[in-house]
């Protein structure tokens, strides 16, 4: 088992972090930013095999990127296209995968029984998981924008009436498992940045003549958040490693990561906001953006109780 980042992954992390340092989560989807991100950095094609024009990277590489896009609250359809890409890897389609790798195509992953689709407004194609199960590429679908509390990233209410569909194949449960790992990686980034923000603030904000970080009432909460971060990071690395190297262990590792990290991420975003005091409640401050992204991510694949039920089943508890 490998829970450490390779030298290449550390370089990737540094490059992505540096690129995203100028991104403002309130700016919304900027195709120019995505153009550079997918061109210079090749992020859209990171996990797409060479034969389709991608970099042939693994889920561990992808999770390094998603931690950073999560930490930066990158607006736009990056996660949506990534989730669709992961599904497409199960039922490869040359045209779609090479289009995504080139940055020409935005895609979104959708489930038949869920009309709210992350990234649905920006998507050129929906990758739909039906009950069969089969994976279907959908174009020409109806959609209307849905404003959610997460202003950094839009959703769409999608209708399939009159859409063109093309069956791509029969996906395994791996589609769902990989989505859980990807979202856990993003949540890890949100958690890390929520903690970093309040740690920085606690070093400069003064109350009663002292920096607030010197009070144990604050310090101990931050220490607990750090403990959660360490565990979350370990779970995400482990889940990503199983996806690449021990696929039999992926379902348990993915459910575990989602069950723990989703909760820990929202807790951290909430505690970070609260410890900022009144300023954290203002629209102007970014704390609520993290708070809202954390909650949106937590329920994106269903609330934590679903992951816990899945864990119970995988562990043979009944």
């Amino acid at each position: 088992m490998n829970l450490l980042l390779s030298a290449e992954q550390q370089d990737l992390r540094a490059a992505v972090r540096s690129f995203l340092s100028n991104v403002n989560p309130r700016d919304g989807y900027d195709p120019a930013v995505y153009g550079r991100m997918n061109g210079e950095l090749g992020l859209a094609g990171l996990v797409i095999p060479d034969e389709y024009g991608g970099a042939g990277g693994g889920i561990s590489d992808l999770s390094v990127v998603l931690v950073e896009t999560g930490a930066a609250l990158l607006p736009g359809p990056f996660l949506a296209t990534t989730l669709a890409t992961l599904a497409l890897l199960e039922c490869p389609d040359k045209e779609l995968l090479s289009g995504i790798a080139e940055g020409r195509i935005n895609a979104a992953l959708a489930w038949e029984d869920r009309p709210l689709v992350l990234g649905g407004m920006e998507a050129d194609v929906l990758i739909l998981v039906t009950g069969e199960p089969s994976l279907v590429a959908v174009e020409g679908f109806g959609r209307e924008p849905v404003e959610t509390i997460d202003i950094t990233r839009g959703m769409a209410r999608v209708s399939l009436d009159g859409a063109t569909t093309r069956v791509l194949g029969r996906p395994s449960d791996r589609v769902h498992d990989l989505a859980m790992v990807a979202i856990a990686a993003e949540q890890l980034g949100v958690l890390r940045e929520s903690l970093a923000a309040i740690v920085s603030y606690a070093k400069v904000r003064v109350a009663f003549g002292r920096f607030i970080g010197s009070y144990q009432g604050v310090k101990h909460k931050l220490a607990d958040m750090h403990c959660a971060l360490e565990q979350a990071e370990s779970l995400v690395r482990h889940a990503a490693w199983t996806a690449d190297a021990a696929p039999d262990e992926l379902p348990l590792a993915a459910a575990l990561a989602q069950a723990y990290v989703g909760r820990a991420c929202f807790q951290a975003a909430k505690d970070s906001l609260l410890l900022h005091g009144g300023i954290g409640f203002t629209w102007e401050h970014d704390a609520h953006l993290y708070f809202k992204r954390a909650k949106s991510d937590e329920v994106l694949l269903g609330p934590p109780r679903l992951h816990r039920s899945r864990l119970a089943a995988l562990l043979g508890l009944s």
């Binding site: 450490l4 970080g213 310090k219 101990h220 220490a223 370990s234 482990h238 816990r308 864990l311 562990l315």
Partner: protein, 422 residues
């Protein structure tokens, strides 16, 4: 085997493992291999095979102290005690690689060496770092061979988390030190031949500056060891009384007045040795583990299933964190104060799982002699020994997150002007 103690704590279960190479046989704070004699480089796999063959051929012969001493002597003579310690003083002078190879094999065995853990994990490494050549010659080989048992005498009734507030006094008299005072939470003191004793030699300076570390003969006149019955009903540690105990001048470790630095060295080694799992029983014997409880709990109840899932999540999250720290250590990234986060999480998991286990099993779990009754009574130990949860949070906040320190009202005040516990 589970033993608790305030400063000299070893934890039998859920051992924190920030690194594969750390064991009771050596220290990761310092790579003693730099003193190693360059010898024949043996293939590591072969080294491990030989170690396994030796361990197979030498099962423990008993669980008393005499059997432990005899086992330790055999272990030393076979070359498996003090693997990375300097050969000059009686160690094997080998590298972390051999150390790790042995630890990997030894994990499959229960070595009856608990009684030596304080000496091997804390006192010995402190002497190697700070002792005089005479002290090393006198003690290291005997310590490694199990001829002497060591204990560590820092905490006092009035100085627990704030150990620098200690009041045990050592006064100079005719070229010797005369010690008076009381120590507490001392593991294995009832068997100990020597102790590392932290004393106050100058009360007129601020508390961290007036301390001196001494090697004390536990058989000397005036030393009284009393077992301290804890909440489990057994005595895991002791209280020690010093009444005019005379200590020769050549027993000072480091410099007079530099005892705090010496203590920090010992505590660093302690934090590392707490992580050791060698010789301790593993997760398979833990009655509060997910594996054990999912067999006995009524899993037809969805609430019970969810409680077990919570236990599983927390156990795996910590296990993977520990594995990551171990891999980092192996890769040369020293975990430092992040080990305190792992210790804190382990302490919280231990109280959580014991609490849950008794809930799941019901009143039968509380009957005298039931493993869970013992697990519950023992569960606070980890949250107290080796630094309380509050101290761990301070360490994580101060040294990992670099948060501003709390103002210290006692920092520059002479000790004899301070408010102290009486």
């Amino acid at each position: 085997m589970i033993t608790i103690g305030h400063r000299g704590a070893s934890y039998g279960r859920f051992s924190i493992k920030p690194g594969q190479s750390r064991s009771l046989y050596g220290s990761r704070a310092r790579d003693y291999s730099k003193w190693a004699l360059i010898g024949v480089t043996m293939d590591l796999a072969e080294y491990g095979r030989r170690a396994r063959a030796w361990l197979d051929a030498h099962p423990p012969t008993g669980d008393d102290v005499a059997a432990a001493r005899s086992y330790m002597a055999d272990l030393y003579d076979a070359g498996y005690s003090g693997i990375t310690w300097p050969a000059e003083w009686g160690g094997q002078g080998l590298t972390q690689a051999e150390e790790r190879a042995f630890a990997a094999v030894a994990r499959d065995y229960t070595l009856p060496i608990y009684v030596f853990s304080i000496g091997l994990g804390m006192c010995g490494p402190t002497l190697v770092d700070l002792g005089t050549p005479e002290q090393k010659t006198r003690h290291i080989r005997r310590l490694l061979r199990g001829e002497d048992i060591w204990c560590q005498l820092f905490s006092e009734p009035g100085a627990g988390s704030d150990v620098a507030a200690l009041q045990t006094r050592a006064a100079e008299d005719n070229g010797e030190w005369v010690v008076n005072g009381q120590k507490v939470w001392t593991s294995v003191a009832q068997h100990a031949d020597y102790g590392l004793l932290l004393t106050r030699t100058d009360p007129s300076v601020p508390k961290h500056r007036g301390l001196t570390m001494l090697i004390v003969d536990m058989h000397a006149p005036g030393v009284t060891v009393r077992p301290l019955k804890d909440m489990t009903g057994r005595a895991h540690f002791n209280e020690i009384f010093f009444d005019d105990v005379r200590v020769p001048a050549d027993c000072v470790v480091g410099q007079v007045g530099e005892g705090w630095n010496a203590a920090v060295t010992t505590l660093l080694h302690e934090r590392l040795s707490i992580s050791s799992g060698v010789g301790m029983s593993g997760e398979k014997d833990n009655p509060t583990s997910f594996a054990a409880l999912s067999k006995v709990a009524d899993t037809s109840d969805p609430v019970v299933r969810d409680q077990l899932v919570e236990l599983y999540i927390r156990s795996r999250a910590l296990a993977l964190f520990n594995q990551r720290l171990a891999q980092e250590t192996k890769a040369g990234i020293f975990p430092g104060a992040r080990g305190s986060a792992a210790k804190l999480l382990l302490a919280e998991l231990t109280t959580f799982s014991a609490d849950l286990a008794v809930d799941l099993v019901g009143p039968e779990a509380l009957v005298e002699g039931h493993p869970l009754a013992n697990a519950l009574a023992l569960s606070p130990a980890l949250a107290l020994g080796g630094g309380t949860n509050e101290i761990m949070r301070n360490i994580v906040g101060d040294r990992v997150l670099n948060l501003p320190p709390e103002p210290r009202v006692d920092k520059n005040v002479p000790f004899n002007e301070l408010k102290v516990n009486s």
